[in-house]
């Protein structure tokens, strides 16, 4: 087995744009679940709304990329309102089922051939990131050192992705330190107590849903800008569950949690998968075929999610007192 290649691959995952995209979605989910206590299992839909909003803005309405990004964020706000107004009064487990249902509805709407003229149907949309590529200020060439060597467009993608992560994390940090953020934590701990203080709990929950949703929408945009296409199949429930694993790994009610959780999650995932793949190649593991190695990935995610919630629900950085999982 080529250990150097395996470690280089895993280290590359640390700062890959996809990791940044998942981390953004996890930061959004931290606002929903970690700080406000909303059991949102439709996070994939917020990312998808952002991604489709941007792609459709560019392709159908001919917007410049910057405007299309704002349009995608606006779509996420609208989706949060549509999702939140009927459902935020529901108890946590109802909310979980309804948000997962809403995410699937959105995916079916993107998938149906009826709207294929705009959404591309099951094939999805592509060729929307030419302007984004053209904005790249770096001249052609290779940049970096060791395992982190990138071509100019890879570097550009990474800088944009991780800059967004840093800005989103700083934004959430300041917002959560404000009086507004304290009300959110109060809602998580005891909704009725906050209500008795005269706060409009519903409005606060809706605002949290919007803010977290817009951050996830940005994650969705990074995701599709990197892949250069947006397909309905990407936004299934597995996407949401991966974000939950990332968030719970780092710590739900923390700022650094989603970031470190995401980096660690993809580092470990790539590492275990490469090692299993290597063991299959050299014949040590003979009950798996090479295509099954990719399936083992999700098996690990499932086990990790179970183990985290059972043994360390507060995650790496979390404070156990802050992680009550009310309900």
């Amino acid at each position: 087995m080529d250990w150097l290649a395996i470690f280089n691959l895993a280290l590359g995952e640390l700062i890959s744009p996809l990791t940044a995209a998942y981390i953004l979605c996890a930061i959004g989910l931290a606002v929903h679940f970690g700080f406000t206590g909303l059991m949102n299992f439709g996070q994939a839909a917020f990312a998808a709304v952002g991604a489709y909003g941007m792609a459709i803005g560019i392709l159908t309405f001919g917007m410049p990329t910057a405007v299309a990004i704002l349009f995608g964020m606006a779509c996420a706000v609208i989706f949060a309102l549509v999702l939140g107004i009927p459902t935020l009064r529901l108890r946590a487990d109802y909310l979980a089922i309804v948000t997962i249902a809403a995410a699937e509805i959105f995916r079916y709407l993107m998938l149906t051939s009826g709207f294929a003229g705009v959404t591309g149907g099951s094939a999805g949309l592509s060729a929307f990131n030419e302007e984004f590529r053209a904005l790249n200020p770096f001249p052609d060439g290779e940049y970096g050192f060791g395992p982190f060597v990138f071509r100019e467009e890879e570097l550009w993608m990474r800088i944009v992705g991780w800059l967004t992560v840093v800005l989103a994390a700083l934004f959430v940090m300041f917002v959560m330190r404000s009086p507004w953020g304290r009300v959110l934590r109060g809602i998580r701990e005891d909704e009725d107590a906050v209500r008795s203080l005269g706060k409009n709990v519903f409005a606060y929950k809706l605002q949290a849903l919007i803010i977290g949703g817009v951050i996830a929408a940005l994650g969705g945009m990074i995701f599709v800008l990197n892949l250069s296409n947006v397909q309905p199949a990407s936004w299934g429930t597995n996407f949401t569950f991966m974000i939950w694993t990332v968030l719970l790994l780092g710590g739900a009610a923390t700022i650094l949690g989603p970031i470190v959780g995401g980096m660690l999650f993809f580092l470990l995932l790539t590492l275990t998968q490469s090692i299993i793949g290597g063991l299959v190649d050299v014949g040590v593991i003979n009950f798996l075929s090479p295509p099954q190695v990719g399936q083992v990935r999700f098996l690990i995610i499932g086990l990790a999610l179970m183990a985290l919630v059972i043994f360390r629900p507060q995650g790496i950085f979390g404070n156990k007192k802050e992680m009550q999982f009310n309900g």
């Binding site: 059991m39 009927p86 459902t87 009064r89 529901l90 108890r91 946590a92 487990d93 109802y94 979980a96 089922i97 309804v98 997962i100 249902a101 809403a102 699937e104 509805i105 079916y108 709407l109 998938l111 149906t112 051939s113 009826g114 597995n238 569950f241 939950w244 694993t245 719970l248 798996l288 099954q292 399936q295 083992v296 999700f298 098996l299 995610i301 499932g302 086990l303 990790a304 999610l305 179970m306 183990a307 919630v309 059972i310 629900p313 009550q324 999982f325 009310n326 309900g327």
Partner: protein, 439 residues
């Protein structure tokens, strides 16, 4: 107008005999006979993989068949091109019960001939309920025979009843577990898959008789339910894990089980039963499998209702659902009841998986695909009430099937989920739920 052309559309053509339809009648008779497995009159050769599923049709211009037209048939991991013969007839065997798209290849049309309905180059053949579907692409003057709207409603309602009864058995499992333990079990879909694939293993692979396969499936599924509670959920209750934490554990467990099933059984759709005897009453054409499945579902639902209302254990189950501490203080062994509930839920869900698999085939994702429908059913009826789960499942079944009268077929699951959200808006506790159950 539903683009789907089932064979009964042709039968209705018999009521309006017009000379121009004589060609169509020949096709109709062919289809009628091919729907009966014993028929030797069926000109279609038996396919190599044992599938008796056929999509066929006739391409005609002014009532005369057109030769050499190419039609591309695509379905789940299937794509093939059929060509019409000298009479304009074509037929194609397909591997699995699913919805197929039939696209007429416009460049194969003769010069100067166009489609009667130029916008529709793709039509759908829904082979999930029947074994033969006919797809017609009329050229020139419109000679299509349309199914009256009432017949379409009857056909869809029948399919909805069938699906609803299936969902009800599995949904009662979710509902019982939620009622007694408070757990929204997201790993329930995998229990459906488990039942279907176990049936496949014993019935289709080991070739045991159906009744023995069924008994084995239900027994193994019940044991699977017992094992889940004994190995996972009881220890977690002992750790006093919160309900929301338990729900996320069940999500992780569901992902884990799903990929174990994928690795063990691979990703192919398993043909569990390729033997479909057509049964026909009125406009509805169905199979003996479906009728049998519906009968078993009704009997099972009645048995569950009797169990819950008439037996001591059933009454104790309802007492635990209502108030576990109070039930414990009256001498009911709550842990024992929960264990029984898991065994019963496992058996019921395995049975649902088996019935689903016998009608629609199954793969590793089958249960996960209907999991949201099951949750929609239990939530719609009112979480934790078994009667509610049955009512909710029937509503979901009807909505899924009837929605395809007005919506594209690929939105039928979305329609049922939209109904769920709308009902929760108006009546958050569900149709039959108690008000205190919502937050």
């Amino acid at each position: 107008m539903n683009p789907l052309t089932l064979s009964k559309r042709g039968i209705l053509g018999l009521n309006r005999p017009v000379a121009i339809w004589l060609g169509a009648l020949a096709v109709v008779f062919g289809m009628l006979f091919s729907a009966v497995p014993a028929s030797a009159a069926d000109e279609t050769p038996a396919p190599a993989d044992g599938s008796s599923l056929v999509i066929k049709g006739k391409v005609k211009n002014e009532g005369v068949g057109v030769a050499g037209i190419e039609l591309k048939v695509t379905g789940p991991s299937f794509e093939e091109i059929a060509t019409t013969d000298a009479d304009g007839l074509w037929s194609l065997n397909v591997p699995t019960k699913a919805e197929y798209k039939v696209e007429i290849q416009l460049d194969s049309l003769p010069e100067g001939v166009g489609l009667r309905d130029p916008e529709t180059t793709v039509r759908t053949a829904d082979l999930t309920m029947v074994e033969t579907a006919s797809v017609l692409f009329p050229l020139g003057v419109d000679t299509r025979v349309e199914t009256p709207i009432l017949d379409q409603i009857a056909i869809r309602a029948f399919a909805g009843l069938n699906l609803g009864l299936l969902l009800a058995i599995a949904a009662i499992g979710i509902s019982l577990i939620f009622g007694t333990t408070g757990l929204s079990n997201f790993a329930h879909g995998e229990m459906v898959t488990f039942g279907a694939l176990t049936t496949w293993l014993f019935y289709a692979v080991l070739d045991l008789p159906l009744i023995i396969s069924a008994v084995i499936t239900i027994a193994i599924s019940a044991a699977f339910g017992w094992l889940q509670d004994a190995a996972l959920w009881k220890p977690l209750r002992g750790r006093r894990l919160g309900l929301n934490q338990m729900m996320i554990v069940s999500i992780g467990f569901g992902i884990f089980l799903r990929y174990v099933l994928l690795i063990v059984f691979d990703g192919e759709t398993k043909v569990i039963s390729g033997d479909f005897q057509a049964v026909e009453f009125g406009p509805i054409i169905t199979t003996a499998n479906s009728i049998g499945s519906m009968a078993i579902s009704v009997v099972t639902l009645a048995a569950v209702a009797l169990f819950l209302t008439r037996t001591r254990i059933g009454k104790a189950t309802r007492a635990v659902s209502d108030n576990a501490s109070l039930a414990a203080s009256t001498g009911i062994d709550v842990e024992k009841i929960i264990r029984i509930v898991w065994v019963v839920a496992g058996a019921l869900t395995g049975l649902a998986g088996m019935l689903y698999g016998l009608q629609f085939q199954a793969n590793w994702l089958t249960g996960f695909q209907i999991l949201l429908l099951l949750f929609a059913a239990t939530t719609l009826g009112g979480l934790g009430t078994s009667l509610g789960a049955t009512v909710g499942a029937l509503i979901i079944g009807f909505v899924v099937e009837l929605s395809s009268l007005v919506l594209p077929a690929d939105l039928k699951y979305a329609a049922s989920l939209i109904i769920l959200i709308l009902v929760l808006l108006v009546r958050p506790q569900g149709v039959l739920g108690k008000k205190q159950r919502i937050g």
